[in-house]
Amino acid sequence: MTPLTAGEIMVAEAARQIRDGEKVFVGMRLPLIAFVVAKRTHAPNAIGLFELGMVRDEPAPELLYTMGDPPNVRGATWSARTVDIMGLLARGEVDAGFIGGAEMDRHGDLNTTAIGPDRAHPAVQLPGSGGAADIASLAKRLIVIMPHDKRRLRERVDFVTTPGHGSTPGWRARVGLRGGGPDVLITTLGVFRFPEGRAVLASYHPGASVERVRAETGWELEVVPDVHETETPSEAVLTIVRGYDRDGFWTRRAE
């Protein structure tokens, strides 16, 4: 049997975050495949929202490289403007959103703008927010998907592109953010929850361990009492993932 990849475990875990009937900003890459899995398994009535101004109630029939690929536009039920779909997000009508990140701190604050102390003269220039900061500001729940790396999971990020829970209790409410903020972080090694607004390891993926996660995490690791191994994707889920991402472009790429 083909060995399981971290990408596949992440997709399966991401799919579990989508509940039936929910409206979800599914973005692209792994979350988009997670949407395919969720729709074909436990969440047949989930609805996919795309920030270029689109709604789909069926996933595109083929693998996408961007959410604007023609197969993702063909068969949409609504094709409008970015501010229209983002407006629904701002109104609090979107249940969940998926985003990625280059750097994250333990409070779920994400940096996708620039590494280094001076934004005008960065050590590493990153691409920026796209729609991520909006989704993190405004969606009821946020699911973050990232490679697990000590340099990426830092005690503090250099620049908060995308708001998490902030470093003091009640920060989101105080600054006026209405969305719920990070609920789950899915990495290449494990799954974190944010029970008190801080990332706490809930499970480690097959092949990883609490110790390995601790070694690869840039903050002092907290672990839930019943930490356990992440559920292995079922055969049915793997079949969907591998049938959709046939060449493994998103789920089997070098990590």
Binding site: L52, M67, V73, R119, S129, G130, A133, L177
Partner: protein, 296 residues
Amino acid sequence: MTPKVMSMAEAVRRCVPDGASVALGLALEPAIPFALVHELVRARRRDLRLIGPISDMAFDILISAGCVAEIDAAWVGNVSAGLAHGYRRAMEKGIPRRIVVRDHSNLSIGLSLLAGALGSPYIPTRSLLGTDLARANGTFREAPSPFDGTPTLLLPAIEPDVAVLAVQRSDEDGNAQLWGPWGISQEAALASKAVIVVADELVDRSVIRADPNRTVAPAFKVAAVVVQRGACHPSPLQDRYGRDHSFFHAYHDATRSAEGYAAWAKEWILDLPDHEAYLAKLGPRWEALVAQERAR
């Protein structure tokens, strides 16, 4: 009325002077007017201010060519391939020059242009509150809503000198029709002082009038109509041609160094007189993208 149909070179000459603010790539990943981007490089435009949401590869090309002084964007990179090497070089090392960036999100750039389109000085939002992005942009203001005192972020109107609309079809007056997602195309066109339409196909006025709901902006906003098939390659244009993923990846691999960019630009822009030559160079690969999309 003055005829508006002209070549890409003429449109760039007339409508995009050095220092102009230019909104492009407005439908996000699809319908990016790369043919115009290439012409800006050939015309050696300088000190442009680029305005857009995602700007898949297009902004990186212009930055690397030294055309750009300022950027208002939510994201500058290569969507399916990764970081933008040219943007990194400019920001990290000032190569070929330093640029000023005002960071946005997709919503904030859309609302800023919408404010411009509505003739409103700003629009308040509850997105981005408390972020470094909101602070670092430098043009936003945080203020309590006068209605209930809750925090809001005020986004001032952006009114570009020119917006570029890449569309499936237009008439000769510039009534341009786009389908598939509009992203922030309409608000950018309405907010701008002038619009350049880059149409895959020129159609009779009667085609437009039979379906005016598809027209993005009224023709009186349009200063130039460029009829150019394949103008968005390697990005897709719905029902006309698919996305050339590997072209994006090849650009990413080729432009890791400034020299690499120079070689890429020589091959794909500077050594070619126009976009027809570019399509000819693509050859059967281009025909396949068209055939694949038309077959669906």
